[in-house]
Structure formats: structure tokens, C-alpha cells
């Protein structure tokens, strides 16, 4: 397939289908609605299923069932809808099901929800935050691979801008290393053999009346630690000789990248670090930048959430300034004045003066 001009939502649905996703379900909500619409168009064309669920609770349940059969399946919503799904999102992790889900968020205020989660117990999800549609196509496919590799949910953190921007993309299936067969998936075939399967979140096994939660949770935690070591991703430019480095993610980082390049061309010694994975967070990149820069500025479209992770990376080696803030359109969909190169420049200049912005 050649290059196509696609809206973000359509590109993401097409990328998911190219990655082998055959089941999607969701409940309409701006700005996620179009993602659901495009899955509804594309999945039947390849023999897949898309269900318009009656609520987010049911959407995540349906995805759970589809995943249990070994099929690549996904769901999504906005942060508000994902709030409803939290109980399932944590329990599905302990069931070790490879869920991919989308947050077409209303801005960046769901950073804590994405990286800490609102569910119960110990669990972590890999969170990929594309800055543009081209990257979203790549990361959506990576998400399905990583979910299967780790048997752990992976989230794509997008927003209104990502979902509704048209960009030219090349739609092709990305090849990843071969994954082990899903011998854990249910198909009914082992009934009556004594070897039937039980996909469950509590470490229950057949013919054992007692569950062993402690050893089960320890094993899962070991996997989480391995993911944390292996999967941190980031992009950076001009960090080596920068006086200040700006940290930003998602579509906001796209503006930051543009402005930093512009300022560099004028000889201003500023760089940027863009976490591509919000979890695991690229702490090491922050730590090593903190050894050489005079300050670290955090540019996020919220009252200050990622800044906590930045501080954990910097660990007091340099001052950390907040230069982002709450910024929205009249409807609250998360397109605000901050999505503007001039505004971003004003904020970065503020950081260079050693000042913070009111969130």
C-alpha cells in the first residue's frame, strides 16, 4: 500500500488492523468517537468484529473475552470513559491478557491515570504517547507486539489533535520478531481432558482449592520490573550542550520540538527530551541530562503531573521548572492556546529566565 492522507483516527484503526487486530469495541465519546467509527468500518472488511458497547464497562468486558480466545483485540475511550474501565484494566493485567487500548484524551490531564492507573492492586501498563499521526501508526503496531510479548496491556495516549489531524502516512504491516504461540488461550478443545484452561486474575489453577496470591503477585511483579528495564523509549535533541532542556510528550511535544529547533537556529542553547513511553518513564535520559544542564523545564498541558516523574529522574541535580499549564477550548476537549508555537516559545523563554508559569 502506498502513501495516503488519513485522519489520525482512521490511520490508527488502519494500523491496528494491519497489526492483526480483529476485535474492537467502544462507547462513543469525543474525541474518541471517530476511532470507534473507523474500526466499525474497517474490521468487517477483514472478517473482524466491532461492537458498539452499551457502556465502557461492557466494552472492556467484551475486549477481555475476545482477548481470552487469543485474538488481537482493542478498546478505548477518553480519560473519562477509561475511568469507568479501571477495575477491569487492573484485573485484566493480572489475567495476563494482551490488551491494547486507546485514550483519545481531552488534553494531557490523564497522565496520572495513564501511568499510575486508577485500578486496585499492583499493576503497570506500558503507555505509548505518539507526537503525530505518522508515529501513531508505528506505535499502534508496536503496541500489539509489546502487549503480546509481555502479556500485559499497552495504552496509546492520544488526544483531540492526534485523532483529528490529517497527515500523510505509509500504511504497511511492520514486522516484529516471532512471538510464542498463545497456548494459554481458551478454545474449548481441552474440556474433559484434565488440562482445560482457566484464565483468571488470582493465580487459580485446576484441582487446587487454595489460590496462592503472594507467589502469583511476586511473579507478575518480576515481569513488571523486566518491562520497566526493557521498554523505556524517548527522543531527544540538542541536549549535550543545552543550558536548559524542555520535557514534553504527545502532541504538545511536537510544538516544543518545532520551537526548540527554531531557537537553536538562533543560537539559543535549549534542547528537548520527549518521553515516547510515559511508563516506563525514561528516567535515565533525565538523569544524565541533569548532569550537564542548568535547568529542566516541564511543558505539559495540565496542572502538573509528569513533572513528578521528571523530578524523580533529575533527583535534585538541577532545578525543575513547570512551564506548562491548564489550556483548553470552550468545550473542554483539550485544544487550547498551548497548541501554538508562539505560546510555547513564550513559555520556554520564561523557563530560560528561571521562572515558572502559573498552571
Amino acid at each position: 500500500m502506498s502513501r495516503q492522507l488519513l485522519e489520525g483516527s482512521e490511520a490508527i484503526a488502519a494500523a491496528a488492523v494491519a497489526a492483526g487486530c480483529r476485535f474492537f469495541c467502544g462507547y462513543p465519546m469525543t474525541p474518541f468517537t471517530e476511532t470507534l467509527e473507523f474500526f466499525g468500518k474497517k474490521l468487517p472488511e477483514v472478517g473482524g468484529v466491532c461492537i458498539n458497547a452499551e457502556s465502557e464497562l461492557e466494552a472492556i468486558g467484551m475486549a477481555w473475552g475476545a482477548l481470552a480466545t487469543g485474538v488481537r483485540a482493542a478498546t478505548g475511550s477518553t480519560g473519562q470513559g477509561l475511568a469507568l474501565m479501571q477495575e477491569s484494566l487492573s484485573e485484566i493485567t493480572r489475567s495476563e491478557l494482551p490488551l491494547v487500548y486507546f485514550n483519545m484524551a481531552r488534553g494531557q490531564g490523564d497522565y496520572f491515570q495513564a501511568t499510575r492507573g486508577g485500578g486496585h492492586g499492583d499493576y503497570r501498563h506500558i503507555v505509548l504517547a505518539p507526537a503525530d499521526v505518522v508515529e501513531a501508526v508505528e506505535l499502534t503496531q508496536l503496541a500489539f507486539y509489546l502487549a503480546d510479548l509481555w502479556r500485559n496491556p499497552v495504552m496509546i495516549y492520544g488526544d483531540y489533535l492526534l485523532a483529528h489531524t490529517n497527515e500523510t502516512v505509509e500504511m504497511k504491516t511492520i514486522e516484529y520478531p516471532t512471538l510464542p504461540a498463545k497456548d494459554w488461550a481458551v478454545d474449548g478443545s481441552l474440556g474433559g481432558t484434565g488440562k482445560s484452561r482457566n484464565i483468571n486474575p488470582i493465580g487459580m489453577s485446576k484441582l487446587k482449592h487454595e489460590i496462592e496470591p503472594e507467589s502469583f503477585w511476586r511473579r507478575l511483579n518480576k515481569k513488571t520490573k523486566e518491562m520497566e528495564k526493557a521498554e523505556a523509549r524517548h527522543e531527544q535533541e540538542f541536549v549535550e550542550d543545552a543550558e536548559m532542556v524542555v520535557v514534553a510528550f504527545g502532541t504538545v511535544a511536537r510544538f516544543v520540538r518545532h520551537v526548540v529547533r527554531e531557537m537553536r537556529a538562533e543560537g539559543i542553547k535549549v534542547g528537548y527530551i520527549r518521553p515516547i513511553t510515559l511508563w516506563p518513564f525514561p528516567y535515565e535520559a533525565l538523569s544524565s541530562a541533569a548532569d550537564t544542564v542548568k535547568s529542566v523545564a516541564v511543558m505539559e498541558q495540565n496542572a502538573g503531573q509528569m513533572i513528578d516523574d521528571v523530578k524523580l529522574g533529575v533527583l535534585g541535580k538541577a532545578p525543575v521548572l513547570s512551564i506548562g499549564g491548564i489550556s483548553s477550548d470552550e468545550a473542554g476537549f483539550g485544544i487550547g492556546p498551548i497548541h501554538d508555537a508562539e505560546d510555547v516559545r513564550r513559555r520556554i523563554e520564561c523557563g530560560l529566565r528561571g521562572e515558572e508559569m502559573e498552571p
Binding site: R22, F23, C25, V49, I51, A53, E54, S55, L57, E58, A59, I60, G61, M62, A63, W64, G65, A66, L67, A68, T69, V71, A73, E87, S88, E91, S95, V186, D187, G188, S189, L190, G191, G192, T193, G194, S196, R197, N198, I199, N200, P201, I202, M204, S205, K206, L207, K208, H209
Partner: protein
């Protein structure tokens, strides 16, 4: 007196303690049951109901097609001995999970197993929407009118007058509302093809329960739409009723409101 015996004596305030045979009288176990051992209380109706379900699956020759989606309640402890593929769902969410399974494996026999607290209280909308969509799955409700696992608390199907841990003087319609008759509610939906209520309070009704389950599974195999079986089960420990009086209480108290019979059939 052992601790267990003391506890038991406190729970069961009766002079009539049934003789429990020390040897197994009938050495028979369905193929789909890995063991007859379980941790549920004496007099519980759930093991009997689940046994009937497994026998029905086996007798229909569907053992290698069956996938169960199990809710959370006392019966969840039986997932260790049910020898069909299983997916453990969250409390209330089994019908949605079953939907996902069935849509991906249309030729499987997908069944859901939930209690009344799980289905009628926590997850009412799930079962209603799944029935309304006409999902080709069989959902089985084990209805004992209480949250057995938490120790006998009121659910949405507790009948008026029934004593529970949080309606100690009996469910009062004015204060606690009326029970939901879930089978009748589901039967009213166009997507529901087969709806029946049965009970395991005596031998003939237990055998009848298996017949009903077979009809429901056959409805699914024939791709006729949503099938629903409500099985009334005893929970003497959650009812403040002596074990030996459990079956009679089920038949006469719960059964009077949740009336037995085929409520909807596609024949």
C-alpha cells in the same frame, strides 16, 4: 468439641443434625468434574446445580466446545474442579466477557455462570443488554437470594420477608424495595430465545434442571439467540435456616416469588 463443631453449632440452631455418611455411597463423578471435593457449605445448592450443568454439557457431546465465563461468588471456588475452559470475569461482568468469547469463537458453547448478587445486583445492565443484543450465549444464574460469599447479605433478588445479615427482621418492601424477577425481565426482550427457571431443592427438580439446561444449550447450538437459565439454589447458612430445612425454604419461600417454569421458549 472441636472449633469447627462449635462454630457449626452456633450457626445451626437446631436439634436435628442430619447423619452424614462417612463413606461415599454412590461412586459416580461426571467426566467434566475433576474432583468431588469442594469447599462450599453443607446443604449448599450450588455444587448440585453446577454438576447438572456439567452433566448436561457432557451428555450433549459438547465437552470439547464448552467455554465458561464465571462471575464472583461462592461458586467461583468450583472453577478449580470444572474441567472445561474457563475465563474468570469480574463481579457482574460475565455476560460482556462471554460476548467477546462467543463473537471470536462462534462455534463454541459459551456459557456464563453468575450468582444473583453478581448478576442482578452488580451487573444488571450487562445481562439485560446481552439478552437484548440476542447474543448467542447461555447465561446461567444461581439464585439463592443472598450474597452467600460475604455471609448472607441482601441482593436485588432477596424476597420480601427474607432475613439476611443486613435485613435482620426480614426484607421490608417499604424500606428495602422489592426483588427483581430477572427471568421475567429478560423474557420480555426480543433477543431472548429461551428463558426458564428451575431449582435443585429435590431430586425430580434437580433432574428437571438438567433437562432445562440441555434445552438452553441446544438453543445456542441451533443459533437461535440468547438463552437463560435461572437455577434456585439453597443457602441455609445465609438464610438463618437449619440445613435440613433449606430445600423446603427454597421451594416455599423463594420459589413462591421466583416461580418455576419455562418462561419463554422458541419451540
Amino acid at each position: 468439641m472441636s472449633n469447627d463443631a462449635k462454630v457449626r453449632q452456633n450457626i445451626i440452631s437446631t436439634d436435628v443434625v442430619p447423619e452424614v455418611p462417612s463413606e461415599q455411597l454412590i461412586p459416580f463423578k461426571p467426566d467434566l468434574l475433576l474432583s468431588e471435593d469442594h469447599h462450599l457449605c453443607p446443604g449448599c445448592g450450588e455444587p448440585t446445580a453446577v454438576r447438572m450443568m456439567l452433566e448436561a454439557i457432557q451428555e450433549l457431546g459438547l465437552a470439547q466446545k464448552a467455554i465458561g465465563v464465571v462471575g464472583i461468588g461462592c461458586y467461583t471456588a468450583l472453577t478449580g474442579v470444572i474441567d472445561t475452559d474457563l475465563v474468570q470475569a469480574l463481579h457482574g461482568r460475565a455476560p460482556s466477557v462471554a460476548t467477546g468469547v462467543k463473537r471470536m469463537l462462534p462455534d463454541s458453547l459459551t456459557y456464563g455462570l453468575q450468582g444473583d448478587g453478581d448478576m442482578v445486583s452488580e451487573g444488571l445492565q450487562e445481562v439485560i443488554h446481552t439478552a437484548a443484543r440476542g447474543e448467542n450465549v447461555t447465561i446461567i444464574l444461581l439464585n439463592n437470594g443472598v450474597f452467600g460469599e460475604t455471609g448472607g447479605h441482601m441482593t436485588a433478588s432477596t424476597v420480601v420477608g427474607q432475613r439476611t445479615k443486613n435485613t435482620l427482621d426480614g426484607r421490608d418492601a417499604e424500606e428495602h424495595g422489592h426483588p427483581i424477577l430477572i427471568s421475567e425481565m429478560i423474557a420480555g426482550l426480543s433477543g431472548a430465545a429461551y428463558v426458564a427457571r428451575c431449582g435443585v431443592f429435590n431430586a425430580s427438580q434437580t433432574v428437571h434442571t438438567k433437562r432445562i439446561l440441555k434445552k438452553a444449550f441446544q438453543t445456542q447450538i441451533d443459533k437461535k439467540g440468547f438463552s437463560f437459565v435461572e437455577i434456585l439454589t439453597m443457602c441455609p447458612t445465609g438464610w438463618f435456616v437449619p440445613v435440613i430445612e433449606g430445600p423446603g425454604y427454597l421451594e416455599n419461600v423463594l420459589g413462591e416469588i421466583h416461580q418455576l417454569g419455562e418462561i419463554k421458549s422458541c419451540d
